[in-house]
Amino acid sequence: MISGSLIKLDFFYLVLGAMLLMIAVMALRDPHNPKRYSSALFWALYAVVYLAGDWLSPVAAGALMVVMALIAGFGGVTLGRYGERSPEQRRDSAQRLGHKLLIPALIIPITTMIGSTLLKDVKFDGLFLLDPKNTTLVSLGCGSLFAVATACWLTRATPLQAMRESRRLVDHLGWAVVLPHMLAVLGLLFTEAGMGKAVAHVVTSYINMDVKLVAVAVYCIGMALFTIIMGNGFAAFPVIAGGVGIPVLVGVYHANPAVMAAIGMFSAYCGTLMTPMAANFNIVPAALLELPDKNAVVKIQVATALPILLANIALLYFLLNM
């Protein structure tokens, strides 16, 4: 072990793996789920990724991902029945518990904040308390566990009931749960296949950058477009900054690199708002909020993203040489 810590990210991989395995078992035992065998298989395979990820060979993990995609893609992951309470029952307990219901919900962000700011450098016997490379995730994991415990204590529900409820939510999310993960894989594959060079080549070969405004616009729009393709501003930034920002804006127009970088990254974020490829921000919330149109969040964000992108072009044009 290179960096020792008491609470490691691996611990939460096991927690999530166990959670997914229980969801698989519950799906298998739910006669109301029309496709309970394929649903159970899907969640069991995902559990394997977390429980045995470190021992899987890359080829086996790749095959597993393809099988999961085929099960989900051909409608093999379906809803079951969850024994939900009636709206009247929920209203009654809401009145009874009142603001106390907020406590467990707020424990998650508060623990995450405390962990990732105050406790990030805390050590015991030379071991970090929290995995130093993943402080935020590990704090969020601890917060989630505290929140379940508090919620169980407050409502006198059992941890098993908490598992049933996570199954209800995970089932409603369905394939949207794995989409961000699979898109991240596609993003890494794009990088490996040299997508960045290809896009930078196309962008720089066919457009005349002799006019300053054109160069600025190409840079900002290029950031947004490449982010729309990759679903991730962090993937777009090196490509477009390397292809247009540094050689043209800094090299030819003597731009201030800090201005070029800051406004470029924000242009990339305009792309993030407009693409289903950024599934964690756009597709998952649509599923979480039970919207019939999975692209509803992307569609509503376009009218915010485009004006911000235009404003970025104007800001960069006028602030370029600050």
């Binding site: 809401a94 961000p180 900054a241």
Partner: protein, 236 residues
């Protein structure tokens, strides 16, 4: 600049665009794009599977942030968290959907700018609290709130969380994006002070707040107009 660049991987992008245009299942589109991109980059099946598998294991930290809070949130929902959030907003007479979301946008953007990116989030804030409250505020005024409006309000709640997070976080010096920018520029032989990058993010952060708040303000007018029309339609 005459070195040959392999443009074939761009076929992977074409598959994505085609797939979304044809409304094919997103997971199948992604797998098809993986296959096309891999073969366009001259990988054989085994190599491609290995690349996919290694990436799948490497990125498995991503779903944690979504899945770990679900047990607590699900349990609280069972005991009426949504109903409580809606009843609380009903007591504030001046609350409208737009005003509520503008306040949330401000909190989200400012807290992200101070590095507290975990204050919001879709699974632990938007689904259990923000979206039900935004919906409840509209329902207070218009008890017969239509489903399309409900969906629009929910989508806007999710969008508000995203806009606040994205345009707030780059104003904070210790955030990953600033470090990434500095590292990349250094790789190209340019030294920049991270503080300057963070500072030059402020004009866009302010612009984003103004543009999105204006849209939230308009949402209230949109709801009012839509409900007036549906009331007229109901009487006719």
């Amino acid at each position: 600049m005459n070195q040959t660049v392999n443009l074939w991987p761009l076929l992977g992008v074409a598959v994505i665009i085609l797939g979304f245009a044809l409304r094919a299942h997103p997971v199948l589109v992604v797998i098809a794009a993986c296959a096309v991109t891999g073969f366009a980059a001259a990988m054989d099946v085994e190599h491609l599977l290995a690349v996919l598998g290694a990436a799948f294991i490497k990125t498995r930290n991503l779903p944690l942030i979504l899945l770990l809070p679900l047990a607590a949130i699900g349990l609280l929902e069972r005991y009426g968290l949504k109903e409580h959030a809606q009843a609380s907003i009903a007591r504030i007479k001046s609350a409208t959907t737009g005003r509520l979301l503008i306040v949330y946008l401000a909190i989200r953007e400012i807290s992200a700018a101070f590095g507290l990116t975990s204050i919001g989030g879709h699974p632990n804030m938007v689904r259990p609290l923000i979206a039900p409250m935004a919906e409840g505020a509209a329902e207070n005024r218009y008890p017969a709130l239509t489903d399309p409006l409900r969906h629009r309000i929910r989508a806007m709640s999710a969008a508000t969380d995203n806009v606040g997070l994205f345009f707030g976080e780059d104003v904070f010096v210790a955030f990953g994006a600033i470090v990434l920018m500095q590292t990349i520029l250094r790789g190209e032989g340019i030294e920049v002070d991270p503080l300057h990058i963070a500072m030059w993010g402020i004009p866009t952060a302010v612009t984003a707040f103004i543009i999105h708040s204006w849209r939230l303000h308009r949402l209230d007018a949109h709801i009012a107009r839509a409900m007036m029309n549906s009331a007229k339609g109901g009487q006719a």
